[in-house]
Symmetry: C2
Subunit: 461 residues, 2 copies
Amino acid sequence: MNVLNSVGFFFPSSFPLLATTEAENGPVILSGVLLSLVVIYLASKLGSELAKRLDFPPVLGELVAGVIVGVSALHLIIFPEGGLTAADSLLMTVLQNLNALTPEAVTSIFASQSEVISVLAELGVIILLFEIGLESDLRQLKAVGIQAVVVACVGVAVPFAAGTVGLMTIFHVAAIPAIFAGAALTATSIGITSKVLSELGQLKSKEGQIIVGAAVIDDVLGIIVLAVVASLAKTGEIDVLNVVYLIVGATAFLIGAILLGGFFNKAFVAVVEKLETRGNIIIPAFIFAFVMAFIGNAIHLEAILGAFAAGLVLDETDAREQLDELIKPVADILVPIFFVTVGARADLTVLNPTVPDNRAGLLIAIFLIVVAIAGKLVTGWTVFGIPAINRAAIGVGMIPRGEVGLVFAGIGSASGVLSKPLEVSIIIMVILTTFLAPPFLRIAFGNSEPIAELETTSPEA
Amino acid sequence: MNVLNSVGFFFPSSFPLLATTEAENGPVILSGVLLSLVVIYLASKLGSELAKRLDFPPVLGELVAGVIVGVSALHLIIFPEGGLTAADSLLMTVLQNLNALTPEAVTSIFASQSEVISVLAELGVIILLFEIGLESDLRQLKAVGIQAVVVACVGVAVPFAAGTVGLMTIFHVAAIPAIFAGAALTATSIGITSKVLSELGQLKSKEGQIIVGAAVIDDVLGIIVLAVVASLAKTGEIDVLNVVYLIVGATAFLIGAILLGGFFNKAFVAVVEKLETRGNIIIPAFIFAFVMAFIGNAIHLEAILGAFAAGLVLDETDAREQLDELIKPVADILVPIFFVTVGARADLTVLNPTVPDNRAGLLIAIFLIVVAIAGKLVTGWTVFGIPAINRAAIGVGMIPRGEVGLVFAGIGSASGVLSKPLEVSIIIMVILTTFLAPPFLRIAFGNSEPIAELETTSPEA
């Protein structure tokens, strides 16, 4: 029986000491994550429903709700950055009292829980871009014609150049944050514009077609620009060779993915047809999206560029149509985490005008908003060869920034390249351009005749 | 222009030093999570598809695939526990070479990435229990009658008592791990049994009805037992008052949730009907499940008890039926993370019989398997008042442990209460009972006449 008695070593009397900190804190970290998710989901639903009732895009409601539960107001969802500690977090105070935790344990749990929520938000934006990629139809791009290409390119180049140069010369902002903020001015939100156009019955008008076509191109250009500037932000220096590598790399990555699209597509359908267990469609799709996102990250571009490319190349097939349905609930639970945390991280108090030190930041915010609106408005006057076109309507249609603008703010904030005032300025720019576009668009189209069209669906519907 | 010039303070020249470690490591942590998820998804699909072809339950394939990618073999998915470091992880070595990381950065990234995957696995088991709760029909319980109740109670009590007492007296295992391992022997997997019964055309036979009814009761009893023993494991001591509190608390929690079910249900449907934006069904459902899981955790029981109760009380309604469909893709991407990581954490080498020190652990494993089989087999002979019933078939039908047994192993491992040999013994017990039940069941039913029935769906289908 010697062998049997010797098993005592499995359970030494010092057993509780062997338990790792992770194991001890594990249930509390889970509690913290669950509580954070409940707050995020409640905020996102209250915000999006209220926005919907007020005829604003739901995503804007989620963002504003995030601001309210975040560092600017309720301190429910905060992150250990900018000097904030667990003691500043209302949720952590609740957990500390419930579990009688030591201050060290609280600090460690706060860090772990924040890390988990951050990664969930990043997975959310990866799924968002994958979904945007799935919804972008490349064949539509071929049809939009040269007018949309010109509008898109001018609409990217003018705000980018004016924003970057203005920040550097007027406000003496360093080159990298100035470039990042300038880049955040580029992307047009197709979801918001196409929804308003649809309501006005103008989606199939000449103006509507140019706006939507240009917005699709803008999305692609914006994501390439983001990948390039985010990579610059990581190295912290601007080396001409590196910039060329990044632009060529990002473009080649997207074009390469599209050229190999037929192969990826066939392989995806073949795999899906062979699988017989649960998750036969969504797991291969996620493997593909995550591999592409990983490659995007590994070649020092951005994970979202890979996810967007993965969505772009999955062509219309039976499996694709089922995937569209399956990915929705996953996006519904992950994407709000991204939008709410972008709002929650933004400390609006840095622009409080009653504090004299903040006024410089306020001027930057005003400057960015003016450039954001004017830089897109001019695009209407670049349309050529079409007499009697409503140039103001086209320019106004390009104004709303929406999701992609928030992706810039979120990634800029996570990478640490944007100062708080710049980050908040970008978020306010996104909110204002998105709030203003619908009423402006209604004014610009005035009494134009509505044009019959099929019902369209937007990501916010 | 003084104000404008003063904004230079936003971007001090020391700016790169201000970037937090989190911000610097952020993209690499995301890369690590993406790579881990790709490995987990590939393993889960390869494993489940292979198991399905060999006519075994897919969940078993996911578990075995987890063992292969984990600490026992490929070292792709490992966790910083039991002395393992980033240097042991193949994935971390890849990331280190890709990003030229310092050893300190790698250690920190490894810890963060492991934490994120652990929490994702815990969210997976919460969703799994929520889904099991949704699929459990309480009205069915009323119909199964006294026979199923007796079979269930004996099938919980005998393996629990025999396992715990045996481990303590024969093997001198400490009380808490012995109780935990005994508890892991209690739960019957309804999914596996009902699928085999369905294939044999015996789901609607008297024996089939008793087995399925008892398995449903077993699930509920097993989850109460788990909540109680996991809570004991946290405090590390057995206080009679505390045990009474826990048993009463867990039972009251479940019964309370069921009694309030009508109210929860009406509130859920009312909220869902009012919401107009995306996620109108799944977000309220997740808020409810996560709040219940948080309460389960906060009253020192288990998060999964809350999630199970949340699923149990959402009655058949239009919103519920849509929820069933919406939750599937979310479960499909989160639940495999749980099963694969349970396998990955289990170090099978601790039972390698060529190492003399391991033989004591091997004897424990053999003992647990014998108790697991014999303890359920006897239940067939507790059925009374029905002459000519196939007692062996009922006993054999209760043998497979499946998912809930793995939930015990996973939670035991995460809480640090189970020694490695005990944890691995439980996992091998689950694997063997689940492998053996289908052929045994076919033998036990022999040439019994198949009975017509409707097609049933199981969670593994």
